[in-house]
């Protein structure tokens, strides 16, 4: 896919406007999900538009020195960081996210959905550097070496951040009184 992306970029640089539209169609889903997971759910449409606008403006200067996806994710990461700087997020207090009391077995799926919501909030509350690593490793399935190229940070540092991020998420679950037997059993 990445070779196709590079071909598409070449065609676009040669003046084929359709190639740009094809790139947008191909990447709007992954990029919007990525932005959403970085904690920009409310403004993801605008940010996604911004990412592809930057891609359009930077396109003529694109050189095939690395993977197109890494380049595009870096643009998206910068857009997300800029947005975070513009509007400092006010994280939802954990006290507001109490688990519902389980009344019967049929409520299990409801509780699971609540837990999912709690986890998303917990993820959104993570510091930016930790959240980025979780999103890239978990959702984008990037290796730490790819992440190191994208974030320009040593892979060992990113592994430590990832472990720390999972530890914090697990801590949130523990704070809420979750135990493995309740959902996995």
């Amino acid at each position: 896919m990445d070779q196709n992306d590079a071909d598409m970029m070449r065609r676009w640089q040669d003046g084929d406007a359709g190639a740009f539209e094809e790139l947008v169609r191909r990447w709007q889903g992954p990029i919007s999900r990525f932005l959403s997971r970085l904690g920009n759910t409310n403004q993801v449409a605008d940010l996604c538009q911004e990412v592809f606008l930057r891609l359009y403006l930077k396109g003529p200067r694109y050189r095939e020195t690395g993977a197109f996806s890494t380049w595009l994710y870096r643009i998206a990461m910068n857009v997300a960081r800029d947005a975070a700087r513009r509007t400092r997020r006010s994280p939802l207090p954990l006290m507001d996210l109490d688990l519902p009391a389980r009344s019967s077995a049929s409520d299990a799926s409801c509780e699971y959905q609540e837990l999912t919501k709690v986890m998303q909030h917990a993820l959104a509350d993570l510091p930016e550097s930790l959240r980025e690593v979780v999103v890239l490793r978990h959702y984008e399935d990037m290796s730490f070496e790819e992440m190191a190229r994208l974030l320009k940070t040593p892979a060992s540092t990113l592994k430590s951040r990832f472990a720390a991020a999972l530890g914090r998420l697990r801590g949130r679950l523990k704070q809420l009184g979750w135990s493995p037997e309740e959902t996995t059993g």
Binding site: Q28, S32, F52, L53, T116, M119, H138, L166, L169
Partner: protein
């Protein structure tokens, strides 16, 4: 492998990032440690819960991108034009200032660069009025000495000649003065005799009348 080391490796174990030999070591520890197993289960649950995010569906408006890009580029062009005009203006002003205040000239076999107001010109009239003092030559030759002697002689002759003329004039004046004195004496005698005769006549007339 102890619990601490195992728990450090659990995130990588959950995501399958461990090398086979390390994974085997972790597996062995998990088989014998209920606490680490619980931690492993918790992390696996975290992974599972992360898998269900509500994702918005987004459609990028490509036409709006083209429009925005065009607007941005026009804005950039405008800013560049303004910056260029400002730069040219500043350069012109700087050049003007430099030309007015910077003086570069060749003087006395060296380049003189001077910044600031020009130095005041010397007053030519005053310079012209100033007497020219001849600088004596440090060496006096015999010819010079002869010339000076001749000049002194000529000057002395001139003085003597002038003195002679003065003496002649003085003698002539003395003679004239003597002549005038003689004339005055003779006139005085005549007047005296006339007055005496007149007095005698008056006395005689007075005696006749009595």
């Amino acid at each position: 492998m102890n619990c601490e080391h195992t728990r450090e490796l659990l995130p990588a174990w959950i995501y399958g990032d461990l090398a086979p030999e390390t994974k085997a070591l972790v597996d062995n520890h998990l088989a014998t440690c209920p606490g680490c197993r619980e931690e492993q289960a918790a992390l696996a649950e975290v992974r599972r819960l992360l898998d269900e995010p509500p994702l918005p569906k987004v459609q990028v408006d490509v036409a709006r991108i083209f429009e925005s890009a065009s607007r941005l580029r026009q804005g950039h062009m405008r800013r560049w034009r303004r910056a260029a005009v400002a730069l040219v203006g500043m350069a012109a002003a700087l050049l003007l200032i430099l030309c007015l205040k910077l003086e570069v000239r060749w003087q006395g076999q060296q380049v003189v660069v001077r910044w600031g107001m020009p130095s005041p010109e010397p007053d030519r009239a005053r310079v012209e009025e100033r007497p020219v003092v001849p600088v004596p030559s440090p060496e006096v030759t015999a010819a010079d000495m002869k010339l000076v002697k001749d000049l002194l002689h000529a000057l002395a002759e001139s003085v003597e000649e002038r003195n002679g003329r003065f003496q002649q004039n003085l003698a002539q004046l003395e003679r004239q003065l003597n002549q005038m004195g003689e004339q005055a004496g003779s006139r005085w005698k005549a007047t005296e005799s006339y007055v005496s005769a007149l007095h005698t006549a008056q006395v005689e007339a007075r005696s006749k009348g009595e």
